[in-house]
Amino acid sequence: MAIRRGRGVAAINYPTGMNLGGDPTQALVHSTPTGNFMVTLSSVDLGQGLKQIMAQICAETIGVPTDRVIIDTADTDTGPHCMGTFASRGTHRAGNAVIQAAKEARQVMLEVAAEELEVNASDLETDGEGNILVKGAPQKSISIFDVALSAHFKRGRSISGRGMFLIPRSYPEKETGAMKPSTCYAHACTVAEVEVDNETGEVTVLMVKNIFEIGRALNPKMVEQQLVGGSWMGISHALYETTEPYYPNRDHGGTDFNQYLMPGPGDLAQTEIIVLERPSADGPYGAKGPGEMCANPQIPAVANAVFDAIGVRIDTLPITPERILRALKAQAAN
């Protein structure tokens, strides 16, 4: 009986969004009278940072500082339709919708500015700091604050835009069954190193090294935050989490989150994260969905590392001490 060490590797592709009856998200953008921009969405922020990312995307498209954008995700009954905040689709689907809405609002904003400055709208540009300038003659300018006031109180214009992003439903081809059920794949690879105690069946993940290819990281610190937490969740999927340890029998399943095991602060593997940025063609400013994919490659990597350590394949998750001991017993019997 001994502690055995093993190393495993796994690579994954992971899609953004899903393919049920089509995958739409819509967005509305309008300016307040003082030239702030309101983005109305039904997509929600549950801690992953959707509001921050949507504010960045809207600000970048309209040409204003991010703090001039207000994100309203108040109510799925009254907001523009969103399929839902899941399947790593928030940044990609809602982001594309926000870009379209913000482009339309920007066009109206430039038209109002053109009337105020008595120039052609196509000769105008934004400075990203809240002003609209004549290209090549930046001394001729107007603040977006004044443009919004003019639109509201003088010109009777609504600086607003509608955005819609839809991935249409994909049906399988009759002859081959080929279809495109998902879009915009992110990629990841993990190397995991484990110790397995072949007397107790306990697995300790010593180290995981993860590489993630996630399109463009629109907010690198928030991406890192997702990936670090996700890597920990992947290890948790591999070794801890289940509601039915004897599925389909419910015996010994947890009855609430207190009994739903995940690694605590004393159980952390040494974790390394590397981000590769390959901007995606159809993503908002090149982004893909980094959300769920980051918790996937650790699972097969840990399973492979367990195999490397003790020579048995565990093909049911989570890889519990009981499953390891039963597998070792079966191996010895053969």
Binding site: M233, N258, P265
Partner: protein
């Protein structure tokens, strides 16, 4: 049942409330004083989201009867910032991106504050031990551990 009068200090302010017998401190803080920074996670003492500091000690407000708190000095995360300036722990949590959904954050910060009050220069193991009664399901804990270590360093530099 007759209500019980209790008086305590909450983040430096005198409070006087009437509570029903058996009311938890968590309930009294959130629904009587309006301080919603302690969170009700499990309501059975396992998640740490309701952690507060009573007379300098870390306590689970969901398992503490409000009527036992008369005369005590209670601190919560909402009282940490002074004159709009964040406490070093709050600053460090923000800078380290140590919060996602945020539900565990006030309890984590309370646990970390008691640690740093008693152990100004903690080791990583000290931090892990101090946070081990608090559950987080977003971050993977590492950014939280780093934030506490960063706040400890900032404190010791300010003290020097």
């Amino acid at each position: 049942m007759a209500k019980v009068p209790i008086q305590f200090t909450l983040n430096g302010s005198e409070k006087a409330e009437f509570v029903e017998g058996g009311t938890t401190l968590l309930h009294a803080l959130r629904d009587k004083t309006g301080d919603t920074s302690p969170k009700g996670g499990c309501h059975q003492g396992t998640c740490g989201a309701c952690s507060v500091i009573i007379d300098g000690e870390l306590r689970l407000s969901c398992l503490t009867l409000a009527e036992t708190c008369s005369g005590t000095d209670i601190q919560t995360t909402s009282g940490l910032a002074e004159a709009g300036v964040l406490h070093p722990l709050q600053r460090a949590f923000l800078d380290a991106f140590a919060t996602q959904c945020g539900f565990c954050t006030p309890g984590m910060i309370m646990a970390a504050k008691v640690l740093l009050d008693h152990t100004p220069n903690p080791s990583r193991e000290d931090v892990v031990e101090a946070l081990s009664g608090n559950i987080c399901r977003c971050t993977g804990y590492e950014p939280i551990i780093q934030a506490v270590l960063t706040a400890a360093r900032a404190n010791s530099q300010n003290a020097a």
